[in-house]
Amino acid sequence: MNFFHFMAQNHQQVLELTLEHLWLVGLSTLFAAMIGIPLGIAIAHRPRLDKPVLAGANIIQTIPSLALFGFLLPLPWLGERADRLAILALTLYALLPIIRNTYTGIRGVDAAVLEAGRGMGMTDSQLLFQVELPLSISMILSGVRTAVVISVGLATIAAAIGAGGLGEFIFRGLAMVDNRVILAGAVPAALLALLADFSIGWLEKRLQPR
């Protein structure tokens, strides 16, 4: 029985775990965007805060994922369920690329454009929504894309704490020393990463300012 037979036989479970994986990645990316984009905007506008915030996000990035899952385990409510923990950890990892790209995008808006806008009486929120965000949207999306691709890979490790996802196959395969089972987790995960990379990349191009 080769890999394809294995996939065909277990397609039900492959689908289930893929959806679980998507759930972990999707929700954590959403949370990371909800925190990271406003934070990136805030530090772009207040240059004094940029170093500490970016340094903080950088430090999180350097914590090994298994260790981070372990650190978070004692947290109340979150520690009760493995998927909550996994989503929190993935959110933390996704913050850096999103914050950094938002910051870079907003800071990169031409100063003359901003001065003209301000000089003509645009309010801060008009400047943000009419000028700064439209001009940096593709930069921000590129950060989200990086975050998603990293998360798809990291989420496989979440199976180690029982959060499910395609990592289940990988860990099971490792234990059974069965490459087919490992591949049944790894191949769909790789496809997910490619798909996310491609589709967000496409969106990025479409929203590119001229």
Binding site: D110, A112, V113, L114, E115, A116, G117, R118, G119, M120, G121, M122, T123, Q126, Q130, V131, P134, L135, P209, R210
Partner: protein, 255 residues
């Protein structure tokens, strides 16, 4: 007392981190005149301009608009009532020419058909052919971009126009053309204009009065003719630096 000067600087000083950039600035701008702020780089011309629409606030003294200190006016309303043109133009790269020009009327929530009419009128006034309306700034030449910048500044029909080296980045031929059009536009519209330049020729040609600035001080404010023959050392140094043929600049603009 209805006859306030439209812009008045009362002993204005401006300091950045303890360093005085402008000191004791005192001058008035009358309705309909073109005051040119002339001076070398770092003399405080641009800073002076930005104090008018409060992109900067004075460290001491006050700037009055039609007799009212501009700190007492609503900041956003103040800026919308003053046109602003800068050297880098600062057009929004993601907006078409049409939307760029319509910016101020749009944020002031004019009805749409009125905006459309106004844009058409302004494009004609600034010599932009209608086909350009749907183009983006990167598809325009430098001269066209500067025209759009002027059209955008005029959109809400402001009484005051601030121009910071508006023709500085253009090639000499285009600059000449735009200066010529500036003069005919000004004859039509009679705006109150404060224009910053370091080019004496431009100052003589466009200004009804020239205010010479040096190291944050106003050295002299003279009519172009007087400026040419001024005994003031700073003014005559400027005239010497630009050399011969300045008189012809003056004759041409007078005709």
């Amino acid at each position: 007392m209805p006859d306030h000067p439209i812009i008045e600087f009362r002993d204005v000083s401006y300091a950045v981190a303890g360093t005085l950039v402008l000191s004791g600035l005192k001058f008035e701008v009358q309705p309909g005149e073109t005051l040119v702020l002339l001076g070398r780089s770092g003399s405080g011309k641009t800073t002076t301009l930005k104090l008018i629409n409060r992109l900067l606030s004075p460290t001491s003294g006050e700037v009055r608009i039609k007799g009212v200190p501009n700190t007492q006016l609503d900041l956003v309303a103040l800026r919308r009532s003053i046109g602003y043109v800068i050297q880098e133009v600062g057009l929004f790269p993601h907006y078409t020419v049409e939307r760029n020009i319509a910016l101020v009327p749009w944020i002031m929530k004019w009805p749409e058909d009125r905006i459309r009419l106004r844009v058409k009128e302004l494009m004609q006034l600034t010599g932009l052919i209608p086909e350009l309306a749907s183009r983006y700034p990167h598809q325009l030449s430098g001269g066209q971009r500067q025209r759009v910048g002027v059209a955008r500044a005029l959109a809400a029909d402001p009484e005051i126009l601030l121009m910071d080296e508006p023709f500085g980045a253009l090639d000499p031929l285009t600059r000449n053309e735009l200066q010529q059009e500036f003069l005919s536009l000004q004859r039509k519209l009679r705006k109150t204009i404060v224009l910053v330049t370091h080019d004496l020729r431009e100052a003589l040609r466009l200004g009804s009065r020239i205010a010479l600035m040096e190291t944050g001080r106003l050295v002299a404010a003279l009519a172009p003719q007087e400026f040419l023959h001024s005994a003031d050392p700073a003014a005559s140094a400027y005239v010497r630096a630009f050399g011969d043929g300045l008189g012809t600049t003056l004759d041409r603009s007078a005709s």
